[in-house]
Symmetry: C2
Subunit: 262 residues, 2 copies
DNA sequence: GAGTGGTCTAGACCACTGT
DNA sequence: CAGTGGTCTAGACCACTCC
């Protein structure tokens, strides 16, 4: 026996997929749909909720239900790491021009709004294990948000951890008011003699928590990409651990793996 | 004014996050929760639907509502490409032992069930553009599914495209009954003199379509990771284009980027 | 103010699970 | 068969948007 709300959702989904209803188009009101399908309004709402969870429509309270327009995606390329390393030893004037985020987004610094907050904490067991330091070692936690100046929501949420003693030789690194640091973290590490050798990144994806949905201004029916990044220096120490949360509807990750020649 | 179903969801979410309700634990029935919170059953259902969409609970019809257990994730490491390349020129006995999928999952071939279907098609404009061939060029489309023998759902959905004329020198490559091919696609390409130089992978994440949810047996409140992979040969031609759909609740992607030394 | 979606109710009946 | 979640109704009232 067919479920009414699924049949209605199937019918509407088909009409969206085949272009009968175009991106941005408004659907009939719930009351009209109820009449059209001969069902109650809550049943129509059930059907629309499915499509909303799939990311096909947006429901705007008081305004209507619309076919969602696909978002343009920002590309995050793993070339950014080599690119940032190359800049790390340049004079400040060159570094100041543009950073890794601008490299990804194709924007210049003026288009971006940057927010940073620093905090010291003693390493909990998981971070202590990862860094290979005793539990309770003092870490510097750096929380970043970046957004386009034209938009209200940031396009990433970043938390980065450094071992304080590893970088304390340059007191400027402990000062959040110096952000954004021209040349990024690799340049910061360079000022205390640390050279990054490789970057290891782990990705997973899941639906956003309510907090993430709020902070990133995510509509219903989107996912977040979680990136756990570890940077190793040339002595094989982990020198930075970052957790990055990216909006799945506006982010594309690009990775190139070069293979040895025969 | 606070919304009842959100307050109830907040309360339950808190009790799950802080461990008061442990993974696998059963929640009270909807009727009991309705009594406890002094609300109607549909309002309780509204609250539970939120938590389900966040991936925190599983609702099992006729059985109850349970706190979801985190799934163990299979790791997909970009080392797999170099690993597969190294094997591509080995004798068949060595290649037959284990493939890239086994490399990722740590399983042996006997634990895996493999399904492949081949089909020829003429290149639509997007694929023709990507390969740099005229529209209408004949392509080989290979559809793969891999699952653990102990489970019913596959852990990936793969569609791979090759230019038929590029590989037709070895007729065995056109025969789906020869799958699984020991040594994988890189070995297949090697038999017609193609050496893969680099692999480019693009990732995005979004909620599953109903078909994907069915095929991958995804519970509510999970995401899929979409991987668009292009393999380039040493002459800088694209030799393979693959689209891979991975279940977000069981997949972790690991990428290592090596940087040039100073 | 008219029209939209959002929330909530009280209850009926169905479908599935486990004993 | 008892207990669970799933679907659906008919209607009330609220909150928001836009004219």
């Amino acid at each position: 026996m067919p479920k009414a709300y699924e049949e209605i959702a199937d019918d509407l989904r088909r009409s969206i997929r085949n272009g009968e209803r175009k991106p941005g188009a408004r659907l009939p009101s719930e009351a009209e749909l109820a009449r059209h399908y001969g069902r109650s309004v809550p049943t129509i709402q059930n059907a629309l909720r499915l499509l909303s969870a799939e990311g096909l429509i947006d429901k705007l309270h008081g305004s209507g239900t619309f076919v969602r327009r696909p978002r343009t995606r920002a590309i995050r390329d793993n070339k950014r790491h080599q690119w940032e390393k190359n800049r790390a030893r340049m004079p400040e004037a060159a570094r100041a021009e543009t950073g890794a985020t601008e490299h990804d987004t194709g924007l210049v610094l003026d288009d971006l709004v940057f927010f940073a907050r620093y905090r010291e904490l003693t390493a909990p067991s998981d971070l202590a294990d990862a860094f290979g330091v005793p539990e309770g070692t003092v870490l510097l936690e750096r929380t970043y948000r970046t957004r386009h100046s034209a938009e209200t929501a940031p396009f990433n949420l970043v938390t980065s951890y450094l071992v304080r003693d590893m970088i304390a030789a340059n007191p400027e690194l402990l000062d959040e008011t110096r952000e954004p640091w021209p040349g990024g973290t690799q340049n910061q590490l360079h000022t205390v003699g640390i050279e990054v050798d490789r970057v290891e990144e782990r990705f997973t994806a899941r639906p956003p928590t309510p907090e993430e949905a709020r902070e990133l201004d995510l509509p219903a029916g989107t996912s977040v990409i979680l990136l756990h990044k570890k940077s190793y220096d040339v002595r094989n120490r982990i020198v930075d651990i970052s957790v990055v949360t990216l909006p799945g509807d506006r982010t594309e990750l690009l990775f190139t793996t070069h293979l040895e020649r025969w």
